[in-house]
Symmetry: C2
Subunit: 277 residues, 2 copies
């Protein structure tokens, strides 16, 4: 067992980080795959949203968040945030002495495994689209790629309008514009952890546009990639009972309320921390 | 002249602070009223939006932003942000050795001066509404008050959809709900510095609802209140030529691009600063 291997007295600890609540969809997919692990989830809610900010700021926020998780004893880190993955994954890998898994490469590989010459449309935040990380990952796998910034979707999800005529109309505008620019599209990759909550609305709108698409769930793809890293790097993991601790940099009450929607079960106690922002 | 008075060698310096660009509408109204002053504008763009965050976090962000402006030699501070005024004005007044003007009291007084028994509907962010500062200010002046949280309006303005069918529909939903809860409403107060850019859409939607309202421009009211404080506290102000310096905690390029829309003229060079977030 390497020095990065399992500390057998306490089992494996997996850190999961997002700017807010959306990354809980990754944790939700991960918990059944790693039933014996302990999880630390940090939502950097005081500084969200990352999606409209610059690369320098996002990298600084992501590294300070990851350091907090490292100090709590995590053995590996899952960056469950598309924007932080697109803009800070290299910095995180350079700064942290542990395996780091992002959401972009697993999502791209899931698209490739379904259809080896897929033409993929990626819906994401402005910062993610500007970084073009999905385009690089998809083209690196021989796939077609088109990215579309959808800045209104996160606010609509947070307003609770996941099943609402206004949201359908906003989706219709974004999707028709993207499909006009990339008419060969056959696969849709949801490049933001908020968007899975819009999947029924997206299916409905695509049907109305007469352009159905295969939809990739990158939360599940990321969870599976994480499980593969665990099997390879921490083979001695033994079950000690799943457990998750939650931390946020802003309102604990809001984290519990919104977070439970994304996690699919009640979020218990949440620790309020200050990262100096 | 008191020790808080004009330092005659350099003229008066007025600090203006907002979480982002919206406060530039206050600066825009202020510059013609104080033609001889120097202005320092800080947009805490790395940590925006304040509107969805907690009181503790907003107060911490506002005080650190104000300290930066104080260190640059400001003689007074205008809090050109409804959320920071609603949640941090008392902390700012306690922490800063200078006059501090917020946007809420001037807006409420402008409503009272137009109609002494007005029934005022306030549209604002979630955090501003939760603080109920407008309700206290309006009722303190003997006016009726109803506050409505409109979390989608800032993202719609930042998407550039100020003249768009989706925005009209969102406004129709928010306004009908508010007018159903407060049918006696005769005055509308725009409780967020982004909302003046939606004024034509708001007038159009109110006409469609058959419920026209007097709309209060709190940017202008705040500028006039600031000019009164200057006349009282810094009577020796002499013209040295208007000048404005701009600072932001995130992307200078985005500040220049979006900021010019709010300021109504090009924003020149912008200093990028780090407030430790």
């Amino acid at each position: 067992m390497s020095d990065l291997g399992l500390k057998s007295d306490r089992g494996l600890t997996v850190g999961v980080f997002d700017s807010g609540f959306g990354g809980l969809t990754v944790l939700r997919a991960l918990m059944p795959l790693l039933a014996g692990a302990r999880f630390i989830y940090l939502g950097d809610t005081a500084r969200l949203p990352y999606g409209s900010k610059s690369q320098e700021t996002i990298s600084r926020y992501a590294v300070s968040s990851a350091r907090f998780i490292e100090d709590l004893g995590a053995d590996m880190l899952v960056v469950a945030c598309n924007t932080a993955t697109a803009l800070a994954l290299d910095d995180l890998k350079a700064e942290l002495p542990m395996p780091v898994v992002g959401v972009i490469e697993p999502g791209a590989q899931a698209a490739a495994s379904l259809k080896k010459d897929a033409h993929v449309l990626v819906l994401a935040t402005s910062a993610t689209v500007q970084a073009q990380a999905y385009t690089r990952a998809l083209r690196g796998l021989g796939l077609g790629a088109h990215e579309m910034a959808c800045p209104l979707l996160v606010p609509l999800v947070e307003e609770g309008w996941t099943d609402h005529a206004v949201t359908d109309e906003v989706l219709r505008i974004y999707l028709s514009q993207a499909l006009e620019a990339a008419p060969a599209t056959d696969t849709l990759l949801l490049g933001c952890t908020h968007y899975p909550l819009l999947e029924p609305a997206i299916r409905r709108v695509l049907e109305g546009l007469g352009h159905p698409l295969t939809i990739i769930d990158s939360a599940r793809a990321t969870a599976e990639a994480t499980a593969r890293v665990v099997a390879e790097r921490f083979p001695a993991l033994s079950g000690v009972g799943a457990e998750a601790s939650f931390y946020a940099t802003d309102s604990v009450e809001k984290f519990q309320r919104l977070g439970s929607v994304f996690l699919g079960q009640p979020v218990g106690s949440v620790g309020l921390i200050d990262l100096g922002g």
